[in-house]
């Protein structure tokens, strides 16, 4: 049966929250960002975008491009609050919400249509309620598959909505550049162009066998997408099969020591997400991609499920010797798998205080929700990019569009990348 999927993306989220909370900023070019020399742009209001200012751009360059812009330091607490309010509105219409980041989510509303009418009307209603109750602009894309919904919401911006009717995805996609295909990074884009494939329609027009000869195992994935076929479901974190974080490095790294801080950061991010979703992981998987793009995974089942990032880090480190550390590595990822929810095993020693790591984590989570994830970090991560610069607090595994990839390429610090075929 065809699905009805809405992708909702808040417009210039941090900047919009700032403009809402400080009326004097309304209609003015606003940049939310960190340190004027070393920081990067976290959000740029639509008024400042004509000057070429974009998220993830170095602050120094942004200020040069738009010297008249008002620069506001980030207030993460306000963004988290606003985000939670937005998600509460989503919850009125469907339980099938897959958060991609603080300001972005997929909603599967197939089962809600009987109650609320057409998907188009439902999207309009959600956006209207966000505007009326929270005074924030949002854009929506409606389609029968996830990746099309996401492209469409991007085209609907700002403060708009667009729909690709069921079964029309192939026609809609045909004129778009191949870089819009989910999973197409700059290298794949180059490869496709060399094959004379510039638009998604060019890919769709080729035989699968021909494509497979040229592209190998990823051919099926791209070919399916080009025909508007994307079998991924909307998966709420609570029901996800795994929760993971992975980064592609600026430069390929060699040796355990160089990889450690990245694994640590990834493990801690996974821990935070697990705790947010109220689940624990029974297994840990380490993913490593070597410089030649070959990828291996190593997995370990835990004695008891955990949501503690430090414990996940220890497990990831223990798995590290099982990969070839003599080779240069371009990506690592840590994922918690076999998630378990409410079925809690009671303890014999009931009066036993919560473990020190539980107490520490809940304190860190409270600090992070108040002051941002960067407020307290372990020493090895002191120079790590905060979560929100990667891809949001909620779900660090944001699925990339070409737009996001472009943003990430400009960004200093690790780039986040999703692998084709991996389900969240």
């Amino acid at each position: 049966m065809s699905r009805a999927i809405i992708h909702i993306d808040m417009d210039a989220f941090y900047a919009s929250v700032e403009q809402r909370d400080a009326p004097e900023l309304k209609g003015k070019p606003v940049i939310v960002g960190g340190h004027p020399q070393r920081g990067v742009v976290l959000a740029a209001s639509y008024e400042v975008r004509p000057f070429g200012v974009r998220s993830a751009m170095p602050m120094a360059r942004a200020i040069k491009a738009a010297p008249q812009a008002v620069v506001v330091p980030p207030r993460f607490k306000a963004y988290v609050e606003a985000s939670e309010a937005v998600f509460r509105i989503f919850e009125r219409y469907t339980p099938l919400i897959e958060p991609l980041s603080l300001d972005e989510a997929f909603l599967d509303v197939t089962a809600s249509l009987g109650l609320f009418g057409k998907a188009w009307e439902l999207a309009a209603r959600i956006r209207k309620e966000i505007a009326a109750e929270l005074h924030l602009p949002a854009s929506a894309g409606i389609a029968d598959v996830k990746f099309v919904a996401k492209i469409v919401s991007d085209l609907a911006k700002p403060d708009g909505q667009k729909e690709v009717p069921p079964g029309m995805s192939r026609e809609f996609l045909a004129p778009l550049p191949v870089s819009r295909l989910w999973g197409v990074g700059p290298k794949t884009e180059e490869a496709l162009k060399r094959l004379g494939l510039r638009t998604i329609g060019d890919v769709a027009a080729k035989e699968l066998e021909w494509l497979a000869q040229k592209l190998g195992s990823s051919a099926q994935h791209f070919w399916d997408l080009s025909h508007g076929v994307d079998p991924r479901h909307v998966v709420p974190d609570r029901d996800a099969k795994s929760v993971g974080a992975q980064d592609t490095f600026e430069e390929d790294l060699l040796g355990e020591e160089a990889l450690q801080p990245h694994l640590h950061s990834q493990a801690l991010r996974v821990g935070r997400r697990l705790r947010r979703a109220g689940v624990k992981a029974r297994a840990v998987q380490l993913t490593v991609k070597y410089e030649d793009f070959t990828q291996v995974t190593r997995r370990h089942t835990l004695e008891a499920p955990t949501d503690d990032g430090q414990a996940l880090y220890r497990e990831a480190l223990a798995l590290l010797p099982k990969v070839d550390l003599r080779r240069r590595i371009r990506l690592t990822g840590v994922a918690g798998q076999e998630l378990v929810g409410e079925q809690e095993q009671l303890g014999l020693f009931a009066e036993e205080a919560p473990s020190r790591s539980d107490k520490l984590n809940s304190a860190l989570d409270r600090i992070a929700s108040k002051f941002g994830a960067k407020a307290v970090v372990t020493a090895d991560l002191a120079h790590d990019a905060p979560d929100d610069q990667r891809d949001g607090f909620y779900r660090e595994e944001k699925r990339e569009t070409a737009v996001a990839a472009e943003k990430a390429r400009q960004q200093k610090g690790p780039r986040v990348e999703r692998e084709p075929g991996e389900e969240g």
Binding site: R282, E303, A304, E338, L339, V340, G341, E342, Q343, E344, Q345, L346, G347, L348, F349, E352
Partner: protein
């Protein structure tokens, strides 16, 4: 050093050593065994700094001395020798030469003086005891030992001498507990209980399994335990710390008591837990008059239910358990029937033999 020995004899010692030596030892010599030829025969020593085994083997000793070589390598070689006998000879620079029939090996060794010294066992007060009883006690508690290395106190079995020659062994991982009490005649001269680590216990079990009826002795020195049987002695370091006050978590008497066929309960738990959610092994036990219903459901797979006839009079109750915890207990009991006591859905379940509390297992429920 030079001696001639039956390959099988050497292989037996090296097989035992495999359980002890560290594969990826931080100190390379801990992957080795020490082979010493004395006037009366050969001894083989394996030691990982926590557990050490020394065994004596008959051999024709031509010249006394010692070698130390990789336990794994030596074991592999001895497993494939062409003849029943092998001659072992020390060469210069700590090489060891093995000859059996026309097969010849020259393997790298280290200086025997570098092999770490085992703790002296003179101080230990060894008590003769029944091997089969000790073996039974290990089997009935070992499954409940915690594997969580952060709770190292629970990574072993609590060995606690009681009055009248009784000894209690208790293991718990914080979710379930197993206790067995048996007579092990003799005075161990212990002021309080000690914690025997899992790995040592496992090796002890292997040694007892080899020859359950051999006469054996167990004794304790300051922070180590020593086990002896003819031709072999084992020392191990004990876990240093305070075992939790286990008595407080054993309920006095559960209000709901039922009697059930052990094999039927075992099979039913196995078949129903196939559909537990998230590999958690969670099952639900619903109790009503003379009926125990076991159910499981998994959102991805479906649901399962089985009914068992039991002897029970009392109110109804539904409580969740990790089926594996119950299976572990049922698997080490030998009787036809087992007695189960339950309180409410947050209270522990207690399993023992009907009318016999010398073995008690306590299992905490799951919230389902």
């Amino acid at each position: 050093m030079e001696f001639r020995i039956a390959a099988d004899e050497l292989k037996k010692a090296l097989h035992r050593a495999q359980g002890i030596v560290e594969r990826k030892a931080t100190m390379p010599i801990l992957s080795n065994v020490l082979v010493t030829a004395g006037k009366s025969g050969v001894t083989v020593t394996a030691f990982d700094l926590d557990i050490g085994i020394v065994s004596e083997h008959p051999a024709e000793v031509v010249k006394t001395g010692a070698i130390t070589v990789s336990a794994r390598t030596l074991f592999d070689i001895v497993s494939f020798l062409p003849e029943a006998q092998v001659t072992v000879k020390k060469l210069p620079n700590n090489y060891a030469e093995l000859t059996s029939g026309a097969a010849h090996y020259k393997i790298v060794g280290m200086a025997p003086e570098e092999f770490p010294k085992l703790p002296k066992d003179d101080a230990a007060h060894a008590v003769a005891l029944s091997g089969p009883t000790l073996l039974e006690m290990i089997k009935k508690t070992q499954f409940a030992i915690s594997n969580d290395e952060t709770r190292y106190i629970l990574n072993g079995v609590f060995f606690e001498p009681r009055e009248k020659g009784l000894v209690r062994m208790v293991a718990t991982d914080g979710h379930r507990l197993a206790l067995v009490e048996r007579e092990l005649a003799g005075d161990f001269k212990l002021k309080s209980g000690v914690i025997i680590p899992r790995k040592g216990l496992f090796e002890l079990k292997r040694l007892l399994d080899e020859a359950p009826d051999a006469e054996c002795q167990l004794g304790f020195a300051e922070n180590s335990a020593i086990f002896k049987k003819p031709g072999l002695s084992m020392v191990m370091r004990l876990i240093d710390g305070q075992f939790p006050e286990y008595q407080r978590v054993i309920p006095k008497e559960g209000e709901k008591q039922l009697l059930v066929r052990r094999d039927k309960l075992f099979d039913a738990l196995k078949r129903i837990s196939l559909l537990s959610a998230d590999k958690s092994n969670a099952v639900k036990l619903s109790l009503s008059e003379n009926l125990l219903r076991i159910t499981a459901n998994n959102p991805d797979l479906g649901e399962a239910k089985d009914d068992l006839e039991v002897a029970y009079r009392g109110g109804t109750l539904t409580v969740g358990f990790n089926a594996r915890y119950l299976l572990d207990v049922l698997g080490v009991l030998e009787t036809d029937e087992v007695s189960v006591e339950l309180g409410d859905e947050h209270s522990p379940g207690v399993l023992h033999l009907p009318g016999d509390k010398s073995f008690t297992a306590v299992v905490m429920p799951m919230r389902v």
